[in-house]
Symmetry: C2
C-alpha cells in the first residue's frame, strides 16, 4: 500500500502539518477504500470512527430535509477530508457522503487525528484555519441562497465546478452530475434546474451533450440575473 508521506492528496490538506512521526503512524494504520458511483460513504447520524481523505474522485455531502428532498452542501475532491468535523466535535455526522463517481478514499482512524490535535500545535492550528475557511464559505453560501435567484445560483454553481474541478480535453466540466444533482446543489426543483440549463443552452452560455456540460460563455454566465 502506498505511503501517506509521498501522497499528493495530503499536500492539499491539514495532514501536511503533521510531524513525520505522526504521518508514519497514520500511514501504517490507514486503509484504502473504493466506492462506486452512487455508493454511500456514510449516512447522516452515523458515528464515524475516523476521517476519510479523498485520493481520487469526487463525492458530495448532502442532508435530507423534512420535505424528503436532499440538499447538497458541498462537493469534495482530491485531498479534501470527510468527517473531520464530526470527529473533532465528537458528534454524529450531520451530513451524508455519497460518491459521485468511482472514488478512492483513505480511511484514517479517529485516534490518529485526535491525538495529534492535542499534541501538535502546528497541526491543530492548521485544522483550525481550515475550519475557519469552511465556516466563511458556509456563510457566503447562506447569503447566496438567501439573496440570489435560482438562475444566478445555477450560473455560479457551474462556474464553481469548472474552477474547482476543471475541464476535460474537450472543455467539458470534469464532474458529471445529473440535473437532479444540480437541483440539489442550487436548492431548487429538478424541473427548474432542467429548465434553467436548457435556457442557458439556448442563450449559448453553455453547451450540453447529455450530462456533459461545457461553459461556452463564462462572462455571460457571470452576468446572469
Amino acid at each position: 500500500m502506498s505511503k501517506c508521506e509521498q501522497c499528493i492528496a495530503k499536500q492539499l490538506n491539514s495532514l501536511q502539518s503533521m510531524t513525520s512521526e505522526e504521518l508514519r503512524k497514520v500511514s501504517a494504520c490507514k486503509t484504502t477504500r473504493y466506492y462506486k458511483k452512487g455508493d454511500i460513504i456514510f449516512d447522516e447520524g452515523e458515528s464515524l470512527h475516523g476521517v476519510y481523505c479523498v485520493r481520487s474522485g469526487v463525492c458530495k455531502l448532502t442532508k435530507l430535509s423534512a420535505n424528503g428532498k436532499d440538499h447538497t452542501v458541498k462537493l469534495l475532491g482530491k485531498g479534501e477530508l470527510l468527517g473531520q468535523r464530526s470527529v473533532i466535535s465528537d458528534e454524529r455526522t450531520n451530513l451524508s457522503a455519497v460518491a459521485l463517481n468511482d472514488i478512492e478514499l483513505c480511511f484514517v482512524p479517529k485516534d490518529q487525528i485526535v491525538t495529534p490535535l492535542h499534541e501538535n500545535q502546528n497541526f491543530s492550528f492548521d485544522v483550525l484555519q481550515s475550519l475557519a475557511k469552511d465556516l466563511r464559505s458556509a456563510e457566503d453560501d447562506l447569503i447566496n441562497m438567501a439573496q440570489k435567484t435560482v438562475k444566478q445560483r445555477m450560473a455560479e454553481t457551474l462556474i464553481y465546478i469548472q474552477k474547482v474541478f476543471g475541464t476535460d480535453a474537450s472543455g467539458a466540466l470534469n464532474v458529471i452530475l445529473s440535473r437532479e444533482d444540480y437541483a440539489s446543489i442550487v436548492g431548487t426543483a429538478t424541473e427548474s434546474a432542467i429548465r434553467i440549463l436548457s435556457q442557458f443552452k439556448k442563450e449559448r452560455l453553455i453547451a450540453t451533450s447529455g450530462k456533459h456540460i461545457t461553459i461556452t460563455d463564462l462572462e455571460g454566465l457571470k452576468r446572469v440575473d
Copy 2:
C-alpha cells in the same frame, strides 16, 4: 476595571480554557468598549486587531449583498466572541457587526488570542470545537434557507430568539428587533416579514405590541408550514 478571571461571560466561551496566567494577561490588556443601539462595531472588509467578547447586550453579524440588502447571519449575546474567525484565519472580516441594543464589549488584542492558540492545547482544542459547532449550525441554516418557506423560517427565528435570549417579565422576547431586522434574518422582503408577523398575530401564534413580540402558541409556531 473588572477582571476576566471572575467574568461570567467568559464561562460561556473558549476563554475558559486558558491557563490562569494567560487569562491574567488578557485581563491586563483588555479594554471595555460601549456601543449604543445601531452602532457599528466593525464593518465587513476591516482588518481586526483583536477579538470582542460580549459582556452584555446583543449584536448582529450582517453582510451586504450585491442587491444592496443586508443579510443577518447570526445574533450574538452574552459570552459570545466576535471576530474570532477573522483573527484565526488572519483575513479581513467577512461580516459587519452592529449593536442591536446598548452593549458592552471587551476587546482583547489579537496576540493574546493567537499566542495561546499556538501554545495551549486545551485552548486551541476548545476553539476548534466551537468552530466545528458554528460550522454545523451554518450548514443547518443553509439547508433551512434552501428548503423551508419564509413562513417557516420566520416561525423558527421567533422560537430561536426566545430560546437563546429568553423573555422578559411580561413574557415578551427580550431581544427587540424591527420588522426589517426580522426580514434580514429570515431572508425576505420587509413587507413579507410584516405580513407574516401580522398573520401569526391573527392566528394567535404570537401577540405583538409595537416591537414587543410574545410567543403565545409555541406548539402552533412549530407546526407552521
